[in-house]
Symmetry: C2
Subunit: 253 residues, 2 copies
């Protein structure tokens, strides 16, 4: 029986995590090891300056999983190095409410947890939904996850590559299938609200931002889910831009 | 006069930041906007669930810069969107004690700050030293930074690409020059020390790890600095693995 590590960035009590576990039931030994609280936008942060604690979490009298007082990447590292008896055969992270497309993948704790699995050479998958609602129908996404997980267990993935799945928040019969995509080229026009605290001192809070869409090609991840397709993107952790290397050779170095 | 945004992940009081500012003196209007405390290994985390404050920091009676109670990526976002009168012409992040090579670039707040500048379309550079010592000779690195900054201001960088510079902690005359490199393929064998707190309860702490070296090619970033070269790597934020796309098409999707 393969061991499947299930994690997320919304915390161990998130409905999306429970839906992910349900979708994978029967495929292997499922181990839930996730942050104790929400760690959205944690990126690939890891905890070095502080300690980590691990807490057993029970549901209906049964052990549900372990909560870690750290980031998604901490959870995967600690699971592999200390908590699990052996390295898992698959890491699945999610199901995240809200898409992880475009530059969102850089900020995403969901994607970073899967990337951490990839660093350890374990086939890894991140899963996110089109809508930000925590309570939504995760079942259509769950079906895609199960199908991908089965194939990942059978075929593996190339070294250094993970899969990033984004599923539109639509009823199953309105999802048009899976489209293979690239990470879209768009970014947010960040705005911070400047406010005053009860003592009259200024502070800033990141507000809801509009994305500036630069990439409108049909095989961009964000475009695919907007058009009703589940988007599947292979992502790698080697960030080297080979394309610019030749031009850079002409610089005075 | 161009505006240069200077930031880091070690906090506004770090010696490496002061050295970076000194190296860039005269090239433009220098604006220091950096985390209030050390945020090493913050990755590309951003703060959404909490507020941010901005504090003026003075040195010898003069305004030195602004400290932000957030991550390196927060600093760059907030600087561009609210603090600076206009978007900077260059972002330089560092000088970080300790190399940001291989998979370290994923965990690195130093690199993520520069990547955030890149997301905004601003030519951006991350700079790190071979040694972890906070107090060391940053001058040789400063010279490379200045030379690169001048060229980045003159030529710009392609969209989506930043530069990652790692300089060995050696006297100037022992550094053999700059080598163009790729992000090395290696990772750490993470170990967590399991300890007991004063009340007898278990906790974990990430210990010093040995890197497992898989990549020994001379144009790998970590190899270059080990051989006495400053390493310069173009990095991109588009993580799409085009290589695996064709194989993935053969999957049952």
């Amino acid at each position: 029986m393969p061991t499947i590590l299930i994690t997320n960035d919304d915390g161990i009590h998130a409905p999306g995590l429970a839906a992910l576990k349900e979708a994978l039931e029967g495929l292997g030994t499922l181990r839930v090891i996730a942050p104790d609280t929400e760690r959205s936008a944690a990126g690939h942060a890891i905890t070095m300056m502080h300690i980590l604690r691990v807490l057993d979490i029970y549901r209906n009298g049964d052990l549900y999983g372990q909560a870690v007082t750290g980031t998604p990447a901490d959870c995967v590292k600690l699971a592999i190095s200390n908590i699990l008896p052996k390295s898992p055969d698959l890491v699945v992270s999610g199901i995240n409410p809200g898409p992880n497309t475009g530059t969102n993948v850089l900020y995403s704790g969901t994607v970073s947890a899967a990337m951490e699995g990839t660093i350890y050479g374990i086939p890894s998958l991140a899963v996110s939904m089109g809508s930000l609602q925590s309570k939504q129908d995760y079942q259509p996404a769950g079906k895609y996850v199960r199908k991908l997980a089965e194939q990942m267990l059978a075929k593996g993935l190339p070294k250094g590559v993970m899969l990033n799945l984004n599923v539109p928040s639509l009823p199953q019969d309105q999802i048009k299938g899976i489209r293979l995509t690239h990470q879209a080229n768009y970014h947010y026009n960040d705005k911070y609200e400047k406010r005053l605290d009860p003592r009259g001192r200024e502070y800033y809070w990141l507000s809801l931002e509009d994305a500036e869409v630069i990439d409108s090609s049909s095989d961009a991840d964000a475009v695919a889910i907007a058009e009703g397709y589940a988007s599947l993107t292979p992502l790698q952790f080697n960030l080297t831009s080979q394309e610019f290397m030749n031009d850079l050779r002409k610089w005075e170095l």
